[in-house]
């Protein structure tokens, strides 16, 4: 299954890209995805340990670590917003 990751603000700058398309062989929780990403790139350690970052799954805030991700899901990484 395929999942789109979207990166914003300092996360986008740090990763030097605005998005990723990732393929997973089996259904995965958000928690598992996090370990998965950290193992591939240690920058994710820094991202996930920043408590001010929010995660939005298909435009809804994701608050449950155990949430199961589905094919086609869009997961966005949001640092604190500064519009207006």
């Amino acid at each position: 299954m395929n999942i789109t990751l979207k990166y914003f603000s300092w996360i986008r700058v740090k990763l030097k890209k605005s998005h990723d398309f990732i393929e997973l062989n089996q259904t995965t929780s958000f928690k598992k995805l996090k370990s998965n990403l950290i193992s591939k790139d240690p920058i994710f350690q820094e991202i996930f340990s920043d408590k001010s970052v929010k995660y939005f799954l298909n435009l809804n805030e994701l608050e449950d670590e155990n949430k199961i991700l589905n094919n086609g899901d869009v997961l966005a990484f949001l640092p604190p917003v500064t519009g207006g």
Partner: protein
């Protein structure tokens, strides 16, 4: 009406869209690019506004609907620009309209306070040396929104 746009806008034209003799009161909040960090011995030549548009539209829509429900408004217009903006340029405009002024004034402040904390925009300072510097979220803005959460719930 909610618009996330690259180009600037004209206040008189935006007002005309909402103007109706049902209303007696219009409140506007206009945010512009301020040369703030000059005082920190940095020169900024403008800002860059990043946005997660799909999400920002749904977030603005939610804020707008709360305002329309909580106050007696006939309209609530929100315009937010994205991309590169020069010093002095318009960033954001809120216009609320109502029969009586207290509704439009309170609602307008609620919308801008909420937008600052709950909508997917990110500001960067564009420095003279070509660097982009991330603008941090203000503690004051986070505190101010708590006041509204009590009023709305």
């Amino acid at each position: 009406m909610i618009k996330i746009i690259n180009e600037s806008f004209d206040l008189e034209n935006e007002f005309k869209r909402l103007n109706s003799s049902e209303n007696g009161a219009y409140s506007f909040f206009l945010g512009t690019v301020r040369s703030e960090i000059r005082s920190l011995n940095k020169n900024i030549k403008g800002i860059f506004l990043e946005c997660y548009e799909e999400l920002a539209y749904t977030q603005l829509d939610k804020i707008r609907n709360i305002a329309l429900k909580k106050w007696k408004l006939s309209e609530c217009l929100i315009i937010h620009r994205i991309g590169k903006l020069n010093l002095g340029e318009k960033i954001v405009l809120i216009i609320t309209s109502s029969s009586h002024r207290t509704d439009s004034i309170e609602a307008c402040e609620f919308v801008i306070d909420s937008l600052k904390i709950d909508v997917a925009f990110w500001k960067f300072h564009l420095l003279d040396n070509g660097e982009k510097e991330i603008v941090p979220q203000k503690k004051k803005d986070k505190e101010k929104i708590l006041k509204w959460r009590e009023i709305i719930n």
